[in-house]
Amino acid sequence: MRTATTLYWLVCKDLVSEYRARQVWPAMLMLGALVTFLFNAQLDAVVEGKSRMLAIQVWLAIYFAGTLALHRTLTTEHVDGCWDALRLYPITPAWIYTAKLTVNFLVLAALQAVILPLCVLLSNVPLQEHAWHMVVVAVLGNIGISSVGTLLGGLWLCSRQGASMLACLALPLVAPVILAASEATRLVADSEIGPQWWRWVGLLGVFDVVFVTAGIVLFDFIIED
């Protein structure tokens, strides 16, 4: 119960801090919207395979815009000895990882809430016809990207390196998520909800379980100093 309360306050701390400072969310949402606009501007010329193009564009836009927030989550702790103070909380590093993962999940969910409707409006691809199926794909894809992103954010917190490498290191790792989520999104757009769709959703689920577990276990090893 006490751990759950601490987790709650850790999540609140990050959300309130970002709400007050507004350092990343506006830039992230703006970048996401701009990338979506630019991608969709080219979609009109596409006659065949429009849903496939849209699906990969949606997930790349989410990934690239989300990278801003993923990097920010842990680097904010650099300032004024925040990280040392955070380590004094009566919880294990695994719970710190869980709190940061929750914050990243919420940030990416906000980003998805902007990008997905924008894509439907701009491209006329009917993702909304199977809204619940799309929500399942969005949530699972979000967890996959957040889990890897949070862990890599932790690595960068320790290494004191710049953010420039985070995107290029995370992309190979989240490639299966982006592939699976885009394929599942395409099937939703084409109204082909069947065994094939479930297979991709299953892959996303396996990825999420594996990487959230790996994150919880590895985070302790990574940030020990």
Partner: protein
Amino acid sequence: MQNKFVSILCGGLTRAAVTCPLIAALGLAMVFAPTEETMGQVQRILYIHVASAWLGLLGFAVMGGCGLAYLLRRNLAWDHWSRAANEIGWLCSSLTLLTGSLWAHSAWGTWWTWEPRLTTMFVLWALYSSCLIVRSSMDEPHLSARIAGALAILGLLDLPLVIMATRWFRGIHPVSPEMEPMMQVTLLLNVIAFTVFFGLLFARRHSQLVSESLLHQLEIHVLADHPPVVNEVRTIPPLSLETF
């Protein structure tokens, strides 16, 4: 003197024992293996391509395993093995992409296509490159080992998922093509010879990394005991391994 002679002799014999089978296996692949009817001579690339692809995957398994061992034990010896596997694995996966591209140009008429297996290999190559970038960008050995170890484990966990994901795509890459018995034997011999050869490279690179690490420690030790003095010519006293 005698020990040095024995050491040189053993080294030479080991190198010969590893290199000769490799040359023999390559000769078998290039000259004696039957020519494939449809593809012609280009098909012989397969013998190198399959062997290097196998070593690319094996390298990742070794790198991930050693990375895990380092995180558990905090012994830099594991990181040296992991780093050697990273470099050899990167080399092998680069060779796989290169030979695959040469084959594809002849078979499919293009140097590259976003085919599932090619994409898988490219993702693997990108993961290897990421670990190399991390290692080269950090000076502190334990920090570099910790981060590269974590990345290697993540990559190792990622690998089956990448393979599984791409199997569900409809690909054009040949899967277990039928071959004549002589071709199968040649392929098997090449895989074994390449594995032994890259095993030797792996061991050599590991011993280089160990020496590099010892030298680094030696430099730190010398600088700590005898800090450099500006505008003064100084001689550093001889050191022996007992210094440590």
